[in-house]
Structure formats: C-alpha cells, structure tokens
Symmetry: none
Subunit: 207 residues, 4 copies
DNA sequence: GATGAATGAGGCTTCATTCAT
DNA sequence: AATGAATGAAGCCTCATTCAT
C-alpha cells in the first residue's frame, strides 16, 4: 500500500477526533451557544463543510465531544482499586487521593463537569450518561471500601453508605474552585486533599 | 392622587425588578446566549423597548439579574452568627445547618451558582463580586467559629483555617447534585446536612 | 393625528402586500427554490429582517403570495353570471369569453397556475384551496348554463355535465401556451376564444 | 471474456441511462432546485463522483434527463398516422384517442410537461426543442387530417387550421388535471377522450 | 472508471439593538 | 415611558463541485 494512501486513511480516521478536540477548546472558551462551528473547523485545520461531513449538527458535535472527553477514568479507577491492600484507612486515603487528583487536576474532567452544569438542560442524555458511567461507579468503589472499613472495625459503626457523597464533595469543591476562583486564591490539590483526608478520617473533635 | 396613578407609579418603580425576575426565569431555562430578550420582556408583561429603557444591553440585564438574585444572604448570616452561644461544637453545627440550607435549598442561590459556572468566563466581574461579597464573608464566619473552637480546646489543634473550604464542600455538592441528578437520586437536605455535620465533627475512625 | 403617524400606520398596513407583490415577481422569475428572500426584500424596499417580521418563513411568504394573487376572480365571475340573459347559446358564449379572458389574459392567474403545477407537491394545501375556491366554482357556473341549455332544448340531449372540463380546456391551453411558446407562435386570445366557442358550440347545438 | 467483465461492461454502457432514470424520479419528487445530486447518485446505485464523470453539472443532468424521457412518441405517432384509412372522421377520432392516451396516460410525458412549465425559464432550449420536435409535429399530423377532412367535405368549410390547438387542448387538461387534482376527482382517460371526441367532432362536422 | 473526503459560496433564519412615534 | 416596526450582522446548515487516491 502506498504511503499516501495510508496517510489519507489515517487522516480520515483521525479527523473526527481532531474536530472534537478543537471543539472542546472552543466550547470551553465560549460555551455552547457562543461557539461558532466555523471556529471549531478552523482550529481543527478544516473548513465548515468538513465538520458537517462528520457530524449532523452543532448539537451532535457537542455531544460527541463530551463523550470523547469523558472516556478515560473508569478503567484506571477499577485498576487502582484492585491494587489496594492493607488497612481500610489506607485504602480510603489512597482512593481519595487518586480520585481527587483525577476530578480536580484533570482539565478535561473539570470542563466536562462545567459542560454538564451549563448545558445539562439542553442535553439531558449527557447528564444521564455521566451519572450512570461516571458518578455511580465511583460511588460504588467508595462504598465498597467504606463498608469494608466498617466491617473490619476500622471505621465507626454509624458510618453509613450515605457518606460516600460527602467523601466526594471536597473533590467537587476543588474542581469548581479552580474554575471560578483559581485566580484569586489557589487551593493546592495535594495539600487540600491531605487536609480533606485528615478531616474526614479524624473529624474535628479533640479525642 | 387617583388610585390608578398610584398604581402606575408603583408599577413604574417595580418595573426593573419585574424585568429582572422575568430574566431570571428565562436565563435559568435557556442559559445566557439562548435567552431572547423578547421573551424576557413578554414574561415581564412589557415589550422589548421597555427593557432597553431600563437596561443598556442584554449583558447588563444578565449582570443586574445576578446581582438582584444575590442580595439576600449576607445580613441573615451575620444576624444568625451574632445569636450563636454555647460550645463551639454546637455553634458550628448550627452555622453549617443554616448555611447548607441557604446554599442548597434556595433556588435563587443554586441558579446563581450555575450562572457563575456557566457564564463566569464572560462575566468575570460577577465572579469577583460573588467571591468578595458571598464566599469570603461566609468563609470568615466559619473561620471565626473554627478558630474559636480550637482556642477553646474543643477542636483538635491541628484543625487549621484551610478546613473552612472543606466544611463548605458538602453544601456545594448538595447544590450541584440537585441541579444535575435530582431526578435520579434525591439527597435529602436535612439528613445529608446531619450526616455531614456528624462526619466532619467526628471523623470516620473508631475512637 | 399627525400626518406622519398616519403615514406610519398606512405603511405598516401596506407592508405585507408590498412584500407579497415583490415576492410574486421574484418567484415568477426564479421559481420557489431559486428565489432569495433577500431579493424579495430589496424589491419591496425593505431588508431581510422586515420580511421575517411579517412572515414566519419562506414557505409562508410563498403561500401567502399565492393566496394574495388568487383573490380576485370569483366575485367578478358570480357577478357576470348574474347578468346573463337570453338564449343559452349566447350565455355560454359570453361566459366562455369572460372566463377565457381571465384565465389566459390575466398574468397573475397564469402565474398562479404555474406555481401550482411547479410547487403543488410542496404545497398541497394550496392546490386543495385552488380547487375548492377556484376550479369548482367555475365548473359549477358552467354546469348551470350547460344544463340550462340542455333543458331549454338548445343543446343536444347527450351533452352531459362532464363537458364542463372540456369547455374549459382551451382556456388552459391558451394559458400554458403563452407561458411556454408565446415567443414562438402567439395565439391571439380573442381569435382563439372565438374559434373555441365556435367549435364547441357547434358541437353542442341540437341539429 | 469472463462473465463478470461482460456484466461490468454492460453496466458501464447502461450507467448514463440509469443515472438519468434515477434523476427523473428525484426531479419529479422534489423539483429541479430541491433535488440533490447525491440522492440521484444513491438512487442510481453509484456515488456523486460517478455522476460527474458522465455529466458536467446538475443542469446537464436535468437537460439530458428531459431529452431521455422525451424520446419515444414521435416514431409511434408517425407510424400510427400512416396506418389511418377510411373516412376522416374516423381518422381524426383514432388520432385523438392515440394522442390523448400518450399525453395524458404516459407518466413520463406528463412529468416532462411539468418540467417544461416549472423550469422552462431556466432551460429555454428545452422548451424550444420540445416545441420543434414534439408540439409542431403533432400539430402537423392533426392539421393534415383536419385539412383532409375539410377537402373531403366531411368537415365544415370554416374549420380552420387554428383548430388544431383546440383539438389538442382536452389532452392537456387531462394531463394537468391528473397532476393537480387527480386525488380529488379522477377524470377517466377513456371516457373523457370519448366525450371530447364526440363534442369536437360534432362541432366540426358539416351538417 | 469510480470513490468519497473536502471545499466554500450561498441562503435561511435569528435576534440584539435602534428609533420614530 | 413605552411601543413595535425595522435593521443588519452573524451563525447554522446545504450542496454543487473538485480532486487525490
């Protein structure tokens, strides 16, 4: 096969992803409505028509872009959980650090969250999907560890599974904080994570 | 003065607020870009021209609307804090319950948050303002109580002032959760607040 | 009332008709799809936006334009029929001359027919309407006269009411001929009408 | 030569006609402007590029398609005329029946007429060609028979050659009627033809 | 010969904004 | 103060056409 043919085919295979990456940047900067598909095309190095060759409409570009940018965490999380050993306190600490880092430090993840908040009303399927394929699985992993810790006698007996959302909440704050107030006051991911772990594990009360 | 005149005058004085209330509803439903000023006007019972009589441009309507919907919490908070008495554990518990209720239960507050996340890039002054007049003051109130608790020997000595953001984070999660996944799984404000208070105060570890 | 106000109001009242008249000319020249609404607007002395202030969409402009240009014949026909007196032969001759003149000589009528033929598939309601409000009434008038002629013993007994379409057909040919082949061979309306009347009447008369 | 090669060659030779047949269906359904060459290609079982291999441009596809669908009547008509014998009354009756059937019953013929009416302005050569190669020859055949009938003393002396268009007009009405109002009121081709022949012949016969 | 990815001009439609009344 | 007719810039989307493979 001639190298040109190869290049052509590879090109064709890569185009959609290139367009979606460009779309991500434009949507991040301007939001859904204020983003012009022509700018997306230009950023991807193609013209308007090409975008429409691969995607039906602007809505579709947005949806596919969110899907495209949501695809990485789950396998990593599962893999990480399977490596956890030792006391549940350490397992939870490790899991929190791992998850916080992904949610708060990962730009894609942060912006996907922003898209869901901003455009969730217009794209309810996206929210549904995110809940099923991202939120629920994470919650389950946490629940498993928390329940394990209770069973092992490490965690207080009153610690219920409804605590999973609470355990996640500092990561959420971290993520939104960097979106909104990052320029005013930086919350260091590591120190904030450490403080969260400490507080959630030990509580505030003097023993 | 005839009653009609009176009513008219009152109406006139109320017009801007009526327009901003209408704008709030439209912006909530469609977002900034997709909201049509004509729909705002219609909802307010006036015509487009009237909106432009009171506001320079669409951006101004949005900004004023956010201001309009952000104005209520601070005095209440200050007032509430001034009534706190007794052990710091109870003061913090009371402050958390009060703040969580406002942030998560109040629709205006929730939607303002959404506006900041969605349109913060386009309206940075709004974010600045929200930080200065809403976030910072709340943080200060919490810091005062937390520091008081540490000084009084109720809270652990290692409990630092960076914990204020952590203490707020469940409220944020509660707020966003109801925006995004409220239809899938409801988090009861009271029970969630109670669990948060319990967890943050006591931690997860068995004593 | 100031004359300006009057002018404004009159203007507003006339705008839709002005736009439809302009649309007629553009649609006649280029057909439905190839007509640009911007050209319609320019011809009417307004801008694109104004067209959309009065009409929802291009399809609506077309529909309303056809309605606008179809509104004149019926009252005249009814009126003309009511004046017919004397032998049915003369009545029919007069009715044919009157109808042929309208259908074939009237430009609006001719072009409306062309629109129905060209765009009938896209605008079936227009065809329905034309049939109900134009074709059927004309047929009925003819039928009345023809039946009267038979009853009076002037026309052959075998002359049935299905002849009405036949009696109309030369008018249709005249109309289409002038659209298509007018530049090659002109069919004079009067002489053609006269010949048609002669031929058809001789065909109908009792020997 | 392998059978596949054979088949392929045959396909190649037939490609243009297949494309034109597909084009006919699409143009019939959507009209000239609203027909997409891609749909034509798909219907013909090829891709856009192939259409452009055989035809310069969309206009050319349309023109060739009209030519393609106009090619069948003339030889048949000539042939039919050459078989006419006996009294001119019968000859005319036979000629009318034969011509009416072709014009009104034949779908291709009907739709070509519609194309000429709709797009005649854009394709004047097509109209010219149709006049020269279809209308004029038919007229001449009719004129020959009519003149023969007058010379033979069967038809009235005043029956002039301008009657040829009139004699054709019911066929035209029949054709357009089925396009426009076929779904509302069906005109049976045979009975309508019979009625027309009856009416017109009675009109032409010497008493 | 045939394909189909890519182009880009062009048209429909929306809507923030203006301004005469 | 308020109206609403009018503007025109701007964006979505279509599709005839091209051309490298």
């Amino acid at each position: 096969m001639a190298p040109e043919t190869k290049k052509r085919h590879r090109r064709k295979a890569e185009r959609p992803a290139e367009i979606l990456d460009a779309a991500f940047e434009e949507f991040v900067q301007h939001g859904y409505s204020a983003t012009r598909l022509e700018d997306v095309a230009a950023r991807a190095g193609v013209t308007k028509g090409t975008v429409y060759f691969y995607f039906d409409a602007k809505e579709r570009v947005f949806e596919e872009m969110v899907r495209h940018k949501s695809q990485t965490f789950l396998p990593d999380l599962t893999n990480h959980v399977s490596t956890l050993r030792g006391p549940y306190t350490e397992r939870l600490r490790s899991l929190m650090a791992f998850t916080y880092a992904h949610i708060a430090a990962n730009r894609d993840s942060r912006e996907v969250l922003r898209f869901l908040i901003s455009e969730g009303g217009r794209f309810p399927e996206l929210v549904e999907r995110h809940y099923d394929e991202f939120v629920l699985p994470i919650m389950e992993q946490f629940k498993t560890v928390i329940d394990g810790g209770v069973a092992a006698g490490e965690f207080r007996e009153s610690v219920s599974s409804t605590y999973t959302e609470i355990v996640m909440s500092p990561a959420l704050l971290l993520s939104l904080w960097s979106m909104l107030f990052g320029s005013r006051k930086t919350l260091g991911i590591e120190s904030f994570t450490e403080a969260s772990v400490d507080l959630l594990l030990h509580g505030m009360l003097r023993r």
